[in-house]
Symmetry: C2
Subunit: 192 residues, 2 copies
DNA sequence: CTCACAGTGTTAGTAACTCACACCATACAC
DNA sequence: GTGTATGGTGTGAGTTACTAACACTGTGAG
């Protein structure tokens, strides 16, 4: 049981905290898994029992199920992009108010570390899957068009986060996300 | 000079061929870099001089500059998605006729190998950059909206390839790409 | 108390990658 | 020819992410 309560979850959190503390202080590459584990008072094997790879400490997040539910909860006759957009703009501000700094530092760490940036596509794919599922009635397979749209929405979201980090966090992420979805919706007809 | 002629390019190609032969026969994970190198008659160090990682033998491609040029060559007052779409639907059929099988086997290998799938986002990012550049006048920085659109087009393209492989290559990739761009363009207003 | 079991530690691997440095082949000067 | 750059390659030793096998411990149920 690798669940979310009990001793397991506590060392898991300790490992994550130890990892971020070290990564932010010294950079991802300079920190070995052994030191992360030592910082959490466990051995390197325990690290790998909780996170399949070093990259996963940073990349894994838990937002997907929430996003899927939020998308599903919008009326099915609304345009799919709007369903996704509404889900995101509903969920984001709450998270954003609570953990803006942590969110920014994490995004910056990912985008500035080649090894992490390289594996970002995987997180994106998993968000995309959540959108696909939210847009599809339970039991059915997502239609090809739905998969394209889900992937495009994910691309918009990822681009917004990238712009946020390039801007060094001065702009407000929810605004950038709004702009990104606007750009996506206007893509077909609008001028360059 | 790691260019495209001379002894360097020859061993580079030999390494790529050796790698694909072994990967397709035994699977990506079972094959070590040392064996790839041996198959090309060189040492493992030579492998890493030509490809920074094992994954790069499969993931690196050379289409980006061509795509950028094709996008740029379309009139700048056309909608950006159409410029990208035209570039892709122009370039793809030629490549497709010549190397359909190689293309399919490569795509399948990537999508079915976790380590390669995980790093697909990196290739996607590089195609996206090519689109951004093609959509932006030289010397200028790509506008945020352009970056969203480029990323969305890349997502459409990637989704089409994924569907092609899931379909086991029965459908024609150019058709799937057309459908994916249709879905993208109709995303804003169309029904679910 | 005992038993079950999840969580952890130890040890010993494999394989991807890096570094330092020496070697060789082609090419061009003289 | 002989020298001499230079790009490509080999050797060998090292670091680190990750895996496998197996033994240990603490906690909770009966």
């Amino acid at each position: 049981m690798d669940g979310r309560s009990g001793r397991g979850a506590r060392t898991r959190d300790a490992l994550r905290r130890s990892a971020f503390r070290l990564f932010l202080a010294e950079g991802y590459e300079k920190v070995t898994v052994a030191r992360i584990a030592a910082g959490a008072g466990v051995s390197h094997m325990t690290f790998f029992r909780h996170f399949p790879t070093k990259e996963d400490v940073v990349l894994r997040d838990e937002y997907d199920p929430m996003l899927e539910e939020l998308v599903r909860s919008r009326p099915a006759d609304h345009p799919p992009v709007e369903r996704v957009r509404h889900a995101v703009t509903t969920a984001l501000p709450a998270v954003y108010r609570e953990e803006r700094d942590a969110l920014y530092l994490r995004a910056r760490l990912i985008l500035r570390t080649p090894a992490l940036r390289a594996r970002m596509g995987e997180s994106a794919a998993s968000s995309s899957l959540a959108f696909e599922r939210g847009l599809t009635p339970p039991g059915e397979d997502p239609a090809p068009a739905v998969r394209v749209i889900a992937a495009a929405c994910t691309a918009a979201l990822t681009t917004a986060i990238t712009l946020w980090v390039e801007d060094e966090g001065r702009a407000e992420l929810p605004d950038l996300v709004e702009d990104a979805f606007d750009a996506l919706v206007n893509a077909a007809g609008g001028p360059s």
